[in-house]
């Protein structure tokens, strides 16, 4: 039996730890991989984890042959092997996401959604892959929002507040072109490869743009990226927002009776929108203008009602 996977040199290894929704994740491996990992998960973990749950360790080991092959293990078990450097970050992203879904779903509702905060209000943007939610989240951050997530939105079912999931924005080529110039030096210099062959880039929002505190959900936005489409926004029934959230949940909580009740409660305090767009920065600008206008209208109504 040929053991060709071995750590090349422990002297070049290092460890980097993050805190993902209370789950402590330690990355261990060659320094050059950890430098890239810090772009994927730029916020180092706190000195002590938020939860008392077991930490997980993701170990990156590269082939001593110099072939560029490496493998990733989680707590000693093989996650997968890769055929090149470009596959490592997507693999780590996926492994952390799965660990979070498996271990944190009891404490949070986890949606396939982007999320940002704007003037203390949470914007929750559920959508399937290709809906444009990641690039929209990036464009909203570039327009002044605080970043919460581009992929996994974590909602505390008790407080109905959104909490930061500390992963950088993952953009496809169009999104990368739209965002990279605004965040110089904060993107992976070369495209990364998902298991399905898709080319992606990771872009780390500026340190000051990451949301520091959980925020209540005040807007549910369904992003609909349509190549070449004009930008438009329309109010939609809250029930439509509910259906979408249930459809885009990673874990069963929101599909259970109490979960539906909590989502209904959240939606009663939120507005629901459908945002169609072909140009992401324009979409971000229209969304924020609409929300600001809506907030003004609400304030006037509140004032008139006094």
């Amino acid at each position: 039996m040929r053991h060709w996977f071995r750590v090349r040199s422990t002297a070049t290894n290092s460890t980097y730890t993050i805190d993902a929704l209370g789950l402590r994740v330690a990355f261990s491996g060659p320094r050059r991989y950890l430098a890239a990992t810090k772009l994927l998960f730029p916020r180092a973990g706190r000195a002590r984890p938020l939860s008392s749950g077991e930490p997980i360790t993701l170990q990156i080991e590269e082939s001593p042959t110099g072939s560029g092959h490496c493998r990733v293990t989680m707590d000693g078990s093989l996650v997968t092997a890769t055929s090149g450097d470009a596959e490592v970050l997507p693999l780590l992203e996926s492994a952390v996401a799965q660990a979070v879904i498996d271990r944190v779903q009891g404490r949070y509702f986890l949606f396939h959604a982007a999320a940002v905060a704007y003037q203390g209000h949470g914007l929750l943007m559920p959508g399937a892959s290709g809906s444009g939610k990641s690039t929209l989240a990036g464009a909203l951050v570039a327009a002044g929002c605080q970043y919460l997530s581009d992929e996994i939105a974590a909602l505390d079912p008790e407080s109905l507040r959104l909490t930061l999931y500390p992963k950088s924005v993952c953009a496809k080529e169009g999104g990368y072109q739209a965002l990279a110039s605004g965040w110089p030096g904060r993107a992976t210099p070369t495209p990364q490869l998902r298991a399905n062959g898709e080319r992606i880039w990771y872009l780390a929002p500026p340190a000051t743009s990451w949301a520091r505190t959980p925020v209540p959900v005040r807007h549910v936005v369904l992003p609909r990226f349509v190549l070449g489409a004009d930008v438009s926004i329309a109010r939609i029934p809250r029930a439509t927002g509910l259906s979408q959230l249930i459809e885009q949940t990673f874990a069963p909580g929101p599909r259970e009776a109490w979960g539906v009740a909590r989502l209904v409660e959240m939606l009663r305090q939120a507005n629901c929108w459908e945002l169609r767009f072909g140009d992401t920065p324009q979409a971000a600008a229209l969304l924020l203008a609409t929300i600001a206008d809506h907030s003004d209208t609400d304030r006037r109504r509140s004032s008139d009602g006094r």
Binding site: P237, A239, T240, L242, S243, E256, A257, V260, A261
Partner: protein, 108 residues
């Protein structure tokens, strides 16, 4: 004996805007009813016949009785298909129930 339908007891319902979210705890399925359908469902309390419900709807919405009766029957048929009526619970084998997605009953 005339049919006096009502929703079965394992349903939770939540008002959201003008819609009514009906959640079936037995099947873990949710349904969205628009305002009219929600009103009809509220009238389906087991005490009224289908004709009586149609008369109320005709009067309240200012439509012909026959039209109201058609609409009420159509909704009841959809509710029955989704096994949401009380009589359906005893009759329906859960495995035979139609697989529905949230919002399947969304009458516009």
């Amino acid at each position: 004996m005339e049919d006096r339908p009502q929703l079965h007891s394992a349903l939770a319902s939540y008002e959201l805007d003008d819609d009514l979210i009906v959640y079936d705890e037995q099947s873990s399925e949710g349904f969205v009813l628009n305002a009219t359908a929600a009103h009809i469902v509220q009238l389906l309390d087991g005490s009224r016949t289908v004709a009586a419900v149609a008369r109320v709807i005709a009067q309240e919405y200012g439509v012909e009785y026959q039209q109201a009766l058609t609409d009420v029957r159509e909704l009841i048929s959809e509710l029955r298909e989704a096994s949401l009526l009380a009589t359906d619970v005893a009759a329906a084998n859960p495995e035979d129930r139609a697989a529905l997605v949230p919002g399947a009953i969304h009458r516009d």
